[in-house]
């Protein structure tokens, strides 16, 4: 046997494996592209300015989705107002203050379980608890509260991972200079975890925008009118978000064109959010160097 280290050759098994993996990758990529192109080809046509800026009105003949755009914005805003402080606060508590390993494990198990529950169950619970028991009726507020419970696990877990990723040496450095625990959290921990927290927020917005089943039960299934009255009256009225409206047009009313237009809009929002996450990640990484 020669002692030389030359004589490189490809094994047939390897070539086959690379081929199969490549094929699968191509299939996933092709499906995604086909899906996006299909939705856009059917839906972009319908996305006119009038469609985005009017309410549906059979008398003057407009068929716009402005009410559900506004409802969606309200629900996003309210959900984040509730979920971000609670979620980030919870993550800080679990990571920094909770002493009992058992308690931490229980909380982690609970949040993991919550994130795996089908959204319709949150809808049923939200309907019984927020709409009926707390008498908030079927409203945007009930919708936001229900979605708060839905997105909390994502925010808590993502924020927790981000907090964990802050090097111990930074904490020690701050403590060594006399920073109290809370000062250290405020000045070192949270700023350094902000990238992860923002990612969690953006992912949550994606979830909120895409949610339909639960909201149908707690926030309402139609968006015929623009919300009226003061802010508090507006959030206590019922209304459907874009995803719910999509369901209604495409399924209940059989108006597929409107459905595709809404689908295209949702897709644009989701793609935009994902790009935002990428950009934020890049900026945070650059900041650290």
């Amino acid at each position: 046997m020669s002692n030389s280290i030359t004589g490189k050759r490809k094994r047939p098994g390897d070539i086959l494996l690379y081929g199969v993996i490549g094929l699968f990758t191509a299939a996933v990529f092709a499906m995604t592209v086909y899906f996006v192109v299909y939705i856009f080809s059917k839906g972009l046509r319908g996305l006119s300015l009038a469609f985005l800026t009017t309410a549906p009105n059979p008398i003057i003949g407009t068929l716009g989705i402005l009410p559900s755009i506004i409802n969606t914005a309200y629900i996003i805003l309210l959900t984040l107002v509730f979920a971000v402080p609670i979620g980030v606060g919870g993550a800080v508590y679990i990571n920094e203050y909770a002493k009992s390993r058992k308690l931490i494990r229980v909380i982690e198990f609970t949040t993991e379980t919550l994130s795996g529950i089908p959204s319709i169950i949150f809808g049923v619970f939200g309907n019984v608890f927020f709409c009926v028991f707390l008498n908030l009726k079927v409203s945007l507020l009930s919708g936001a509260l229900t979605l708060t419970i839905m997105v909390l696990p994502t925010i808590i877990r993502t924020a927790q991972e981000a907090l964990k990723a802050v090097p111990v040496s930074y904490r020690e450095g701050a403590a060594g200079l006399g920073a109290s625990k809370w000062t250290m959290i405020r000045t070192i921990l949270l700023p350094n975890a902000s990238g992860g927290i923002i990612t969690a927020v953006v992912l949550s917005v994606g979830r909120i925008v895409g949610e339909s089943a639960a909201l149908l039960l707690v926030a309402g299934g139609s968006a015929m009118y623009l919300p009226r009255g003061s802010f508090f009256q507006q959030i206590q009225s019922s209304g459907s978000t874009l995803a719910v409206e999509l369901y209604r047009y495409a399924y209940s009313r059989g108006e597929n064109e409107v459905g595709f237009a809404i689908a295209a809009l949702l897709l644009i929002i989701v793609i935009g959010l994902n790009l935002a996450v990428k950009l934020i990640g890049k900026r945070i990484n650059r900041g650290a160097k």
Partner: protein, 250 residues
């Protein structure tokens, strides 16, 4: 004259009896080196001097540590004020991921100094004090993490100086650095000892011999011998000290 008096200090990590009755007088404006093999308790002892062990789960401390006559483990002690007075430099340079300026200003901000002019002045004085001013004066707003390891460590020293400590604890401050950076930090330490009381943990015996005025030898949680550095290295009294410094173990 003593700056820090340690009396019968015991420290337990759960079952592990890590410090076994340490008695020690640390003199002001001197460099005191703590030497000994890994796990001997020298770092643990250093950290008891500004209560950095407090947050370690399962830690129990008895005995007393007096700083200028005040027991730092007393119930009315404000740890924030203690750590302002007893600063610490860590083994690996750990600047915060912010600008050079903000790193030095961090301690000032958390202790309530907000006036810009005063802050500028202290930042400059601290960076000069840590012998890094000339290297960074033109790029104070650039990220601290872009500096070399040795520069980062001197920046961390500057950060500690900014809050006007009286004692500076250094936990193997050069073990992550190259020889030239190490030399710079060593020169800096002699300079610092004019104003501050310096306590340094080192596993490098030549370093202890070169820079320190006093040396304490730790072994298995006990302080075996403590004397003037020259004395310790020239004629150690305890055979265990002699064995260690002549390289027979450790």
């Amino acid at each position: 004259m003593t700056k820090i008096t340690t009396e019968n200090l015991h420290l337990h990590y759960g079952e592990n009896h890590a410090l076994r009755g340490i008695n020690m007088l640390i003199r002001p404006n001197k460099i005191t080196a703590l030497i000994g093999p890994s796990g001997c308790g020298k770092s643990t002892y250093l950290k008891t001097l500004n209560r950095m062990n407090d947050t370690v789960p399962g830690v129990a401390i008895t005995g007393s540590v007096l700083l200028d006559g005040e027991d730092i483990y007393g119930s009315t002690v404000d740890v924030t004020k203690l750590r302002k007075k007893v600063g610490m430099v860590f083994q690996s340079p750990n600047p915060f991921p912010m600008s050079i300026y903000d790193n030095v200003a961090y301690g000032l901000k958390i202790h309530g100094i907000k006036k810009r002019l005063l802050m500028d002045e202290i930042v400059e004085r601290s960076l000069r004090g840590a012998a890094i001013w000339d290297e960074v004066k033109d790029r104070l707003k650039t990220p601290a993490l872009a500096l070399s390891g040795g520069q980062q460590q001197r920046l961390c020293i500057a950060r500690t100086l900014a809050v006007s400590p009286e004692v500076i604890l250094m936990d193997e401050p050069t073990s992550a650095l190259d020889p030239i950076s190490t030399m710079k930090i060593e020169e800096l330490m002699s300079e610092l000892a004019k104003q501050y009381t310096v306590v340094i943990v080192t596993h490098n015996m030549q370093q202890a011999a070169r820079i320190s005025d006093y040396t304490a030898f730790f072994l298995l949680g006990e302080m075996i011998e403590y004397d003037e550095t020259q004395q310790i290295f020239a004629s150690p009294k305890d055979p265990r000290t002699e064995n260690y410094i002549t390289g027979r173990f450790g």
